[in-house]
């Protein structure tokens, strides 16, 4: 079990309030991702749940038990840190065994769980090495191994992949997602990378300046961003946000259209312009278009290879059903 509830939780460092009153529920077995730009309070929020930071006010409940005043060691959660935080003086085996030894598990049980974890994480050959002799990816695997052996009610991940190179990151991302599918244990994952959030989460929590901007499944956030911040943050490449007369035509202050929802047409397009840069990826072509009468450069995604190049005129047709409308306060209009 691992149902986590935050009730009116706040956090201040001295005079500065980094988390204004915040409410959040994470259900048992959910993969929740906290995402937002750096300094948005997502790591602080995770550390509050872990107990590594004291809450200034409010309550944190794990499986209906109030743990606000409970020390991190007694909350039954496991955490994987960005810097791995392995014990450098212990071998991989001892690192993984550490939480079990502290919990007083028998030697046989420890060894059994170490082997299960090591096999699933490809660490069997490295059990007698020290962390200093391992690569970044292997170290992160050890940190994950150390987290899973104690069978926690929830896993907390604090940007676990940001110290790894791009290729390894994709691999580890899949491993963690698969681990979640297999174990069905609650996971809370902090990242600034919206791609990680979209690919891994059941539930994304978008944060800005300590405030939850929107909570929802990846597709909910993609399809119906509640405000301009979420609209601009979720999706890659970013949504085109257009102000001015073009927006007023749709009765909004700002309209947003995703690059994949603008069609390149031969004639009769709502917008015209010239191609600035064309990126040919084979499967897709991205055009960066200077639209006539538009202040913004538009990003357009065309399926397959479309043979337009720099300076070519282009006609664009945004799909009417995929236009997101926002009011003067940046909030979504129905």
């Amino acid at each position: 079990m691992g149902r986590i509830v935050l009730e009116n939780v706040t956090k201040s460092f001295g005079e500065t309030q980094v988390i204004p009153p915040l409410n959040l529920e994470i259900d048992d077995g959910e993969f929740a991702v906290f995402v937002g730009p750096s300094g948005c309070g997502k790591s602080t929020l995770l550390r509050l749940i872990a107990g590594l930071e004291d809450t200034t006010s409010g309550r944190i409940l794990i499986d209906d038990a109030d743990v606000t005043e409970v020390s991190p060691s007694k909350r039954g959660l496991s955490m994987v840190f960005q810097t791995y935080a392995l014990y450098p003086h212990m071998t991989v085996r001892k690192n993984i065994a550490f939480p079990m030894r502290m919990a007083g598990l028998s030697e046989e049980e420890q060894e059994k769980r170490i082997m299960t974890a090591a096999e699933s994480l490809n660490l069997v050959d490295y059990l007698d090495r020290k962390p200093g002799q391992l690569s970044g990816g292997q170290r992160q695997r050890v940190a994950i191994g150390r987290a899973i052996v104690r069978d926690p009610s929830a896993f907390l991940f604090d940007e676990p992949l940001s110290n790894l190179d791009a290729a390894l990151r994709v691999g580890m991302r899949l491993e963690i997602t698969e681990m979640h599918e297999r174990m069905q244990t609650t996971m809370i994952y902090v990242t600034h990378d919206q791609v990680e959030a979209m690919t891994m989460a059941n539930k994304i929590v978008v944060l800005r300046a300590g405030v939850i901007e929107q909570v929802g499944s990846p597709l909910e956030l993609y399809r119906a961003p509640q405000n301009l911040f979420v609209a601009g943050f979720i999706g890659s490449p970013k949504m085109n946000l257009i102000d001015g007369p073009q927006a007023q035509k749709h009765g909004a202050t700002t309209i947003g259209v995703r690059p994949e929802h603008i069609d390149v047409v031969e004639s009769g397009g709502a917008w015209t312009g010239t191609v600035g840069v064309a990126e040919h990826l084979g499967s897709d072509t991205f055009f960066y278009v200077h639209g006539t009468g538009l202040a913004e450069t538009l990003t357009v995604r065309a399926i397959g290879d479309v043979s337009l190049k720099h300076g070519d005129p282009i006609q664009l047709a945004p799909r009417a059903t995929e236009i997101h409308r926002f009011d003067a306060d940046g909030l979504r209009l129905p």
Binding site: A50, P72, S73, A85, Y87, R150
Partner: protein
């Protein structure tokens, strides 16, 4: 130009000579002390026996037979060892708390601790003497251990604090997440990781305790008197017996020089901590 000169053959030779010169200059008093300790009291003051004399063990025999050297030495060992252990037992948790759970006042507390070292010892000599006598603690091992511990505690906490600061906070936090209590964290994670720093701190503390003279001479008479007291006791109204004095001093300095020699690496590390980062 300067760089060229430094790297030239002459520059290198010059520096070697300079280093040896400084080394010998600092070593000379010890050498002189040991040399004098093998002279009779009469020979010790005669210029004609400066380097050439008939060596004698008389002073050393005299020291062990008549002056009870071993009792003083035992006291020195007991007080220094226990004072070092006690200082670490208090200093490690203290530095741990300040390094990993600092509050707003932590920096001020550290400064205040250091400021106690600025108080002239003489200012509290009489209160200390009267107080310890009336409490019945004068000339006890307990008193010497406490005094040695307290005068070294600030510097020990400072050194440990600096070492502990170098340990990433996440490792300590990982320990908390892994279900360790504070004591377990100190024992299982902090001490193994900061072992080098703790060892060099302990070594310096031990040396300071061993060499302490001001308080050990004044707060003891016989029972808890250390080697410092033995040296001081060789001051006689009729003049100084240089041979005897040198033997006692050499025997007091000896153990610490040997200890220092074997632990050079830790000592240098301890003394230059934080210098390069």
């Amino acid at each position: 130009m300067a760089i060229v000169a430094q790297n030239s053959k002459y520059g290198k030779a010059g520096r070697t000579i300079l280093a040896w010169g400084v080394g010998l200059l600092f070593f000379f008093p010890i050498f002189w002390l040991v040399l004098t300790s093998f002279k009779t009291d009469a020979d010790a003051v005669k210029p004609e026996f400066l380097f050439f004399f008939t060596p004698t063990l008389e002073n050393y025999l005299n020291m062990t037979e008549n002056y009870d050297y071993w009792r003083f030495a035992t006291n020195s060992v007991i007080t220094s060892v226990f004072a070092t252990l006690f200082t670490l037992a208090v200093g490690i948790p203290c530095a741990y708390a300040m390094a990993f759970n600092p509050s707003r006042g932590t920096k001020d507390i550290l400064m205040w601790m250091l400021s106690t070292k600025m108080l002239p010892a003489a200012a509290v000599l009489y209160p200390m003497t009267f107080l310890t006598k009336s409490m019945g603690l004068f000339d006890t091992h307990f008193l010497v251990i406490m005094v040695l511990s307290l005068i070294n505690l600030p510097i020990v906490v400072w050194m440990l604090f600096t070492y502990f600061k170098e340990i990433p906070k996440e490792i300590i936090e990982a320990g908390q997440m892994d279900g360790v209590n504070t004591l377990g964290e100190i024992r299982e994670i902090l001490i193994p990781l900061a072992w080098g720093g703790i060892a060099s701190t302990a070594l310096l503390c031990f040396i300071f305790c061993w060499n302490e003279a001001y308080w050990t001479v004044r707060l003891t008479t016989t029972e808890a008197a250390t080697l410092s007291k033995l040296i001081e006791g060789n001051r006689a109204p009729e003049g100084l017996f240089f041979g005897r004095l040198s033997a006692v001093s050499a025997a007091a300095v000896g153990p610490i020089v040997v200890l220092g020699w074997f632990c050079q690496k830790q000592l240098v590390q301890g003394l230059t901590f934080g210098a390069v980062k």
